[in-house]
Amino acid sequence: MTTQEPLPIDTKVAVRRVLPNWLRNSRRALWPLITLLLIMLADSVVFKGFFNIQVVTDLENGQHFYGATIDIVKNAAPIILLAIGMSLVIATKGIDLSVGAVIAICGAIAATLVGKQNVASSIPLPLIFALSIGAGALCGLWNGFLVAYLDIQPIVATLILLVAGRGMAQMITGATVATFQNPGLSFIGVGYIFGLPVAIYIALAALILVFVFVRRTALGIMIESVGANDKASYFVGINARAIKLSAYLISGICAAVAGLIVTANIRGADTNNAGLYYELDAILAVVIGGASLNGGRFSLLLSAIGVLIIEAMNTGILTSGVAPQFNLTIKAIVVMFILFLQSESFRRFVGRRFRRTA
């Protein structure tokens, strides 16, 4: 052996090694955060007092905070729940198109069980919550079973429930909009705790719970590993089928909770429109949050930021005073713009152009 040169120390790598995980990955977080900031700044331009938060008092809820930013987070809560489950499913290289239909099913169950106007239901509220979340879990297990154990492509497997799910919800409600006046159920949609909407706490709790569940155990790594290469994961001893099943199960449960919030918010289960196209918003949020539809990585926090970007955009379009028929067009253009910003090939493409002209 000849004289050995000392290994060159890359200071950048060394610094990154010391940093905690979330800061080390901060490059990935950069683009979604910048986008959110830009959209909120744009919002504050078209809408004076966008960042203002006031304390208001109303008959139903007493004193609580009020402001556009709080509204955005509140409206985002159900889709944040969906995006949590969707992140895990997409990380396994799957997709869950059925979440909107699951919202309709679980909302229909809850609204039907609490009973009609003013007639006190004999079933206690916690049991109703449990039943409706249980139904969501069943839907998730069904999707997971089809994908993991029958090897059906995720889009087709979850398309089945997307097509049939609203039909089932209509059978539960008898094809009417099941309305209710139960204060306990509507509390989770319109109530306040310490001046902030209950829905925000639920979304936050779900975010923390699932984060701890997947990131403080090996489950998160296993999910990413199955998404990156399920054959290789299988050979290193990961039960790929069980991992996929658990991702769809969590997605079903999250959709059920989102369904409870959506139903409570309008005090009724509208089987035709509840959660309609929510799956597209949730998928979009996960992608805007920087996850790849090819699986292999996920970040719950960035997906949640993706949802906030979409909601901030919706609010901006609605309050800017343009005619409502422009909504979809503007949304499409902004979404394409965000995706362009995040596409590495686009940034390289633009960079080349700039250098050529310079």
Partner: protein
């Protein structure tokens, strides 16, 4: 492998025949050409766009924008015919050019910026639907002598069935689709791209041209479908054909094409459309079945078909079907988790 692909198609055909015979036993009208001709007439627009969807899915992609494009073209035609004196055929040509360009642009974005087709065509769905609302939010009727002439063109059968021009257009598109898929270089490139894009790249398949071409083709057929839909309804309605993309995907999947790409037949999509038409006709003949049953039946059928295809293409299922004949096991069919 080749034989198992045919088996998938055969299973689809078998289920269609079974469904048709059951319907026939219940409603004798199914025995005449009337039902089949009407099913083709009513589903012509869906069939045309489903042929385009078949190509996109064969290439390993997906096109969610078709429902919006159909509605956009319908409204565009209605507005042009109402507000200008341009001949309908010229309007149709403009519509086809717009659809093709729209598809080509989406294909270019998918290829050059490597953004997933699911997301790009989702933005296309929003954009096309949003663009309609810029022009009108109300239904626009079409009263044009040309329309009255065209709608009445039909081949009549002795037992009262009428194969209308719209159904004939669908059948021509179908034959054209089969020709493109199996007898042209473009068709082979699509199969190669969907089967394994890396291998296709190394074999010198022009990935850029094929990707852009396949979405342009889907856009062209969506526009043609929009023209057919406009002839079918004699109006342009901004909220028309919401969710048609899912119906088209369902028809393609029921027709035996794998969503992972590379495997399937354009002819299978015809069977998918006919199955759809048979269920619709059965439910409307019955009269006692509510609307939501259609959704549930189609969901259940989707499941049965997909499970059936899995059984046929899986190793264990092949062993079962070969009735003791020795099955060949190669490295490529090794069990994956």
């Amino acid at each position: 492998m080749k034989s198992s692909r045919f088996l998938t198609l055969l299973a689809t055909i078998a289920v269609f025949i079974l469904l048709y015979v059951v319907s026939w036993a219940r409603f004798p009208t199914f025995g005449s050409t009337v039902v089949l001709a009407n099913a083709l007439y009513g589903n012509a627009f869906l069939g045309i766009t489903a042929v385009g969807m078949t190509f996109v899915i064969l290439s390993g992609g997906i096109d969610l924008s078709v429902g919006s494009v159909i509605a956009f073209i319908g409204v565009f035609i209605a507005l042009m015919l109402r507000d200008t004196q341009v001949h309908p055929l010229i309007v149709f040509a403009m519509a086809l050019a717009m659809g093709t360009a729209f598809g080509a642009i989406m294909g270019a974005i998918i290829y050059y910026f490597s953004i997933p087709p699911f997301i790009v065509t989702l933005a296309g769905l929003y954009l096309a639907r949003g663009a309609i609302f810029l022009f009108t939010t109300e239904s626009v009727g079409i009263t044009n002598p040309f329309y009255d002439q065209v709608i009445n063109i039909a081949i009549k059968f002795p037992d009262g069935g009428r194969l209308s021009l719209l159904a004939i257009i669908f059948l021509i598109v179908l034959v054209g689709g089969i020709f493109i898929a199996h007898y042209t270089e473009f068709g082979r490139n699509i199969y190669a791209l969907g089967g394994d894009s890396n291998a296709a790249l190394m074999l010198g398949v022009p990935i850029a041209r094929t990707t852009i071409g396949v979405y342009a083709l889907s856009g062209f057929l969506a526009a043609l479908s929009g023209i057919v839909y406009s002839l079918y309804t004699s109006s342009g309605y901004p909220l028309a054909t919401v969710g048609v993309e899912l119906d088209a995907i369902a028809a393609v999947v029921i027709g035996g094409t794998l969503l992972t790409g590379g495997v399937g037949y354009v002819a299978g999509t015809l069977i998918g459309i006919l199955i759809n038409g048979t269920i619709q006709t059965y439910i409307s003949f019955d009269g006692s079945l509510n609307g939501w049953w259609t959704k549930i039946v189609i969901g259940v059928l989707l499941f049965i078909f997909v499970a059936l295809q899995k059984l046929i293409t899986s190793r264990r299922g092949q062993a079962l079907l070969s009735f003791g004949r020795k099955t060949r096991t190669t490295v490529t069919t090794l069990q994956t988790p």
